[in-house]
């Protein structure tokens, strides 16, 4: 290729696949406008193919990551660095996007805007994949915005009044967060005098009291900006509204793919701080929003009666859980956070897919689901148990233990204590719903629900089955996930 930057197409494939998909969809739509029923299936195929390539990368070693876009100087600086952890997160983003596509496919059969939907979704997935591997401020910022902005359009596409409100809320907070991120990036550059996320530069900046002040402010702003995408309290206000306003495919994308890419972005920042910055400073900056999210998200989820809103508040609490291990600012903490977010994404995908399949808008609508529809009921039950961290959802328990063991090892006790309280409260949140699933179905609502059930399609069922298989597999063999990230 060019002499300036080396390019390895195979390494870039996880990001190139959705880009290729975008091109194909747009070209196809230009050739035969309005008859693009094939757009969503095509996008799905492309996403799954990209995920398979990414999974190949997750079998590698953290010491020898896949690298490309390397610059001649400074020596060895590569703009794209994907170790096993990054590759796993990329695969999770792509698969979660594919799941969202499947739900959108079933939800809007016959709609004319499928090409637009597919394009937006693929673009956002590209951003999510790229941000995980980006190691320089520029591509990191661009990729992050690429992951975010199309979602606003996706929410708005539904066309209802509440969807417009949700999209507006999303847009406003998104802009605010973008401003914060840009400011943070600028301060980071000022403090470290380095346009990449490198530990050496951070360590040098930390040694100088003047630059340290700037660096702390930079980290604060970056955490705040990412807090919006992660739905950390107090940057969470948009979440329940947007979840409830969008259709379930978009909600699933927001809840799973967006969250994974946001965590991937956060991991890029924190991994530069590991070993370079002393723990307590970062622990407070990350710990405050984490604890607030854990407690507020769980407590409010306890009062929700709409499954989607319940899952929205549960997302806020789970975002807190993802950040809990990062407060240790250690390598084990990074691994625990990645494992947690992947598990959370899988469980949430299954839960939302089942909600889409049943069409229930209240918890009572899923009453006795385990007897009426054992596949959906069992999958939802397992997903909720994983989120609660109870066997047989063993993987939920494993990642919770991992998440708590990092701050415990680092001595960040207040965060660990809040985690314990959140575990207990979380049991109430999820078991409340599980109890409804287990209850005897009311004879009166039987036929009506059955009629509603016929609306869902095959793709949703595939998502439910595949997600459940993943949950069962990693529950039976947790080292598949936890070991793959080490």
């Amino acid at each position: 290729m060019t002499s300036l930057v080396s390019v390895d197409a195979v390494v870039l494939a996880p990001a190139l696949a959705p880009v290729l998909g975008v091109v194909l969809v747009l070209v196809g739509d230009a050739v035969r406008p309005g008859r693009s029923r094939w757009a969503l299936p095509l996008a799905g195929v492309v996403l799954v193919a990209g995920a398979l390539v990414a999974l190949r990368g997750s079998l590698g070693s953290e010491l020898e990551p896949l690298r490309t876009l390397c610059l001649p100087a400074p020596d060895g600086a590569c703009l794209w660095t994907a170790g096993p952890r990054t590759s796993t997160l990329q695969a999770a983003v792509l698969l979660a996007s594919a799941a969202a596509l499947a739900l959108l496919h079933d939800g809007r059969a016959g709609r004319r805007d499928t090409a637009v939907t597919a394009t937006l979704l693929l673009a956002s997935a590209t951003g999510g994949v790229a941000v995980a591997a980006a190691r320089d401020l520029g591509s990191w910022l661009v990729a992050l915005e690429l992951a975010t902005v199309p979602v606003v359009a996706l929410v708005a596409l539904r066309g209802t009044r509440s969807a417009a409100h949700g999209a507006l809320s999303l847009l406003v907070t998104s802009l605010a967060s973008f401003a914060l991120l840009v400011l943070g990036a600028a301060l980071w550059l000022t403090a470290t005098a380095d346009a990449t996320f490198s530990s050496e530069a951070v360590a040098a900046a930390w040694a100088d009291p003047d630059r340290r002040r700037v660096l702390v402010l930079a980290v604060t702003l970056l955490v705040a900006g990412l807090g919006f995408k992660l739905s950390l309290v107090p940057f969470h206000a948009w979440t329940p509204q947007a979840y409830a306003a969008a259709d379930l495919g978009t909600t699933l994308f927001l809840a799973a793919a967006s969250k994974v890419s946001a965590v991937a972005a956060l991991l890029v920042v924190v991994s530069a701080l590991v070993g370079a910055a002393p723990g307590p400073a970062v622990a407070v900056l990350l710990g405050l929003p984490a604890v607030a999210s854990l407690l507020l998200g769980t407590v409010v989820a306890l009062r929700q009666d709409d499954p989607v809103r319940l899952l929205a508040w549960s997302t806020i609490a789970q975002a807190g859980w993802v950040v809990v291990p990062l407060t240790a600012v250690s390598a084990t903490g990074l691994r625990a956070a990645a494992a947690y977010v992947v598990t959370y994404a899988a469980a949430t995908t299954v839960a939302l897919a089942v909600v889409a399949r049943t069409g229930a808008r209240t918890l009572a609508g899923t009453r006795g689901l385990l007897r009426r529809d054992p596949l959906a009921g069992g999958a939802l039950g397992l997903a909720l148990l994983v989120l609660a961290g109870l066997p047989p959802g063993v993987i939920g328990l494993v990642v919770k233990v991992l998440a708590l063991s990092a701050p415990v090892a680092a001595g960040v006790w207040p965060v660990a204590a809040a985690g314990v309280v959140a575990v207990v409260l979380g049991l109430a949140v999820y078991l409340r719903w599980v109890a409804v699933l287990l209850a005897r179905p009311e004879p009166a609502d039987g036929p009506g629900e059955e009629a509603g059930d016929t609306a869902h399609g095959r793709s949703t069922r595939v998502v439910v089955v595949a997600g459940t298989v993943v949950l069962v597999l990693v529950s039976a063999l947790p080292q598949l996930l936890v070991g793959g990230l080490s």
């Binding site: 507006l168 809320s169 847009l171 406003v172 907070t173 605010a176 967060s177 914060l180 009291p209 340290r212 002040r213 702390v216 402010l217 980290v219 604060t220 702003l221 955490v223 705040a224 807090g227 919006f228 107090p234 940057f235 206000a237 948009w238 329940p240 509204q241 307590p280 400073a281 407070v284 900056l285 405050l288 929003p289 507020l296 407590v299 409010v300 989820a301 306890l302 009062r303 929700q304 409260l425 109430a428």
Partner: protein, 625 residues
């Protein structure tokens, strides 16, 4: 022959018996075979074996504690095992007739087999763990057997009562044995006895050589005497419960709700006698501990006389036999308590042996008579011995033996108990004198109620009662037992039981005492029930066991229930209040959170974001600049 062979057949019979319980004939054949084989094995071993044989299982690895799981047989144990197997065989053969019409005969037979196996385990056990296993299995089986006719509320209540009372006493038994085993770091009986035994020879030598007693105790590594006394008293409490001694005596009379063969088994050779076997194993320790001996001796003495008096006044002859069992077991335990260190527990075991024979005979015969007469009340049973010639012979021999008339088996053993108590009284360091005095009084009362029983059962009546369908097996069982009761005293000639000579003086005294009792009983003439003549006013109270049931309820049940209510109140109203409080607080917090997020406007979101950023930035900059 390994001792496990004695336990195995009945265990097999119990296991297979459950499998074939639907078929009465198979169940019966299996049960009789199981106990019969055991009897044969025990007899062969008894005749052929001279010393002690130990059988091992792979020992349990339990850290510091050694659990060898050994069984041991010596002539005395084999003699007791043989009589247990004999009584069990008799009971099994008898119940093939007695319970022929019962729809749950199969379960009954299997339970009896298991019960027998448990008793045999206790008899040949040389390991405290196995003793506890046998002891507990007997407790369960007695519950099943007493409550066999579970459709009757009285049977259910009696079974539950027996279970609860013995179980409460078992707390002491288990604690005591655990303590003994912990002190010895082994559950092996020999090791436990060695560890807790007073090193008398060593101490005597040290005292003779001039050191003080305290120094001698320390130098010889003597175990803590107080602790040993406490542990032994705990074991004795368990024994008192299982053997229905004061203050646990009331369950045994109620247990008469069970089928008569089960009563014969429980009373004659198993459960109630098991305590004597266990204490005989621990005898060397008991002999060293005067306090435990006093507890046992006093409880046995009180029980002995009280139960004999209650037996005399019962209006129901089966309950009379039950109270007589309580009294006779007290005599065994009294012998163990009174025996001085040199004498050994064999007088008590000999009485156990003979009691097993004559009490099983009496129970089985009364069961037959009750079938003929249609009830067990004294008025119903009047003259029912006329139903069959074997009954007359059985009652004559059985009551003679119960009264302790010399030369029949019961008389032989009772004289040895008297002689042992006399030795204890002379030695003067235990409850020997008390046991001796009470035993003489009890002998008179026993003779009186034996006379009463015989008079009532063999009274002349116009209409001869008959019991239909008696099988030859049942009458053969009674004949065999009758013969054994007459000649069983000859067991002394085998030298199995290490008991001393009995002088002619004791024979004379016994005859005198028995004669006195008989004379008192005959005051009303031959045709009247002596209880009506002598104890008319006592009878209603005796039938209720002197109202001990109500005392149990007032002293134990009611306080326990009240305590439980208090605990439940504390749990639900105080402890749970905090739990409910957290739930309320959480829900309130959730409600507040929902209220705060009701106005979901974009501007509010942005405001929140900016405010939070300012706060976080200030915190970060101020803290780490």
């Amino acid at each position: 022959m390994t001792p496990w062979l004695l336990v195995l057949p009945t265990v097999l019979a119990a296991g297979l018996g459950v499998a074939v319980r639907r078929d009465d004939r198979w169940a019966g054949a299996l049960a009789v075979t199981g106990t019969g084989v055991t009897l044969l094995l025990a007899l062969v071993a008894w005749i052929s074996q001279s010393g002690t044989v130990v059988g091992h299982l792979p020992s349990l690895p339990l850290g510091d504690l050694e659990v060898p799981l050994t069984l041991a047989t010596d002539p005395v144990r084999l003699a007791v095992a043989a009589v247990v197997a004999l009584v069990a065989t008799a009971v099994q053969a008898y119940s093939t007739w007695y319970l022929a019409a019962d729809d749950r005969y199969g379960q009954f037979a299997a339970t009896v087999s298991l019960f027998t196996a448990a008793m045999l385990l206790v008899v040949v056990s040389s390991d405290l763990v196995l003793t506890v296993v046998g002891w507990e299995v007997m407790g369960w089986c007695s519950y099943l057997l007493i409550g066999h006719w579970s459709r009757r509320p009285a049977a259910r209540r009696a079974a539950l009562k027996a279970f609860l009372v013995t179980r409460v006493a078992d707390i002491g038994f288990v604690l005591g044995l655990v303590g003994l085993a912990a002190g010895a770091r082994s559950t092996d009986l020999g090791a436990v006895v060695r560890a807790w035994d007073r090193p008398t020879a060593c101490i005597d030598a040290a005292v003779v050589s001039g050191s003080s007693l305290g120094d001698a105790l320390g130098a010889c590594g003597a175990p803590d005497a107080t602790l040993r006394a406490v542990l032994l008293v705990l074991v004795v409490i368990g024994v008192l419960g299982k053997s229905a001694q004061v203050p646990f005596q009331d369950w045994l009379a109620d247990a008469m709700e069970g089928p008569t063969p089960a009563s014969a088994l429980i009373h004659a050779a198993t459960m109630v006698a098991a305590g004597t076997v266990v204490l005989a194993g621990l005898f060397p320790l008991l002999a060293d501990s005067p306090s435990a001996r006093w507890v046992l001796g006093l409880a046995a003495s009180v029980t002995m006389l009280l139960a004999a008096v209650l037996a005399f006044a019962q209006s129901d002859l089966k309950r009379m036999l039950a109270w007589s069992t309580v009294s006779q077991v007290a005599i065994m335990l009294g012998a163990v308590a009174a025996a001085p260190d040199g004498a050994g527990p064999d007088a008590g075991l000999l009485h156990l042996w003979s009691h097993a024979l004559f009490k099983s005979l009496l129970f089985l015969a009364v069961g037959w008579a009750a079938v003929a007469a249609g009830g067990t009340a004294a008025t119903a049973l009047r003259g029912s011995a006329a139903a069959a010639p074997v009954l007359r012979a059985a009652f004559l021999v059985g009551f003679l033996s119960l009264a302790g008339v010399p030369l029949v088996v019961g008389g032989v053993s009772k004289e040895h108990v008297l002689a042992t108590a006399w030795d204890g009284a002379v030695a003067g360091d235990g409850p020997g004198i008390v046991v001796l005095v009470v035993l003489v009084l009890t002998s008179a009362v026993t003779a009186a109620y034996s006379t009463r029983g015989y008079l009532v059962l063999t009274a002349h009546v116009r209409q001869r009662p008959t019991a239909g369908g008696v099988t030859p097996a049942a009458s053969a069982v009674l004949w065999v037992l009758t013969v054994l009761v007459v000649f069983g005293g000859l067991v002394l000639l085998t030298g199995t039981f290490a008991v001393g000579e009995v002088s002619l003086l004791w024979l004379l005294l016994t005859v005198l005492v028995v004669g006195l009792g008989v004379a008192v009983a005959l005051r009303g003439g031959f045709d009247r029930d002596p209880a009506e003549v002598l104890a008319r006013r006592l009878t209603p109270h005796a039938d209720r066991g002197l109202g001990v049931d109500a005392v149990y309820r007032r002293l134990v049940a009611r306080p326990v229930v009240r305590l439980a209510r208090v605990v439940a109140f504390l749990d639900t109203e105080v402890v749970d209040a905090y739990v409910r409080g957290t739930a309320v607080a959480t829900r309130a917090a959730g409600w507040t959170g929902v209220r705060l997020h009701r106005g979901e406007r974009p501007s509010a979101g942005v405001g929140l974001v900016l405010a939070a950023v300012v706060v976080l930035g200030l915190v970060g900059v101020l803290a780490w600049s």
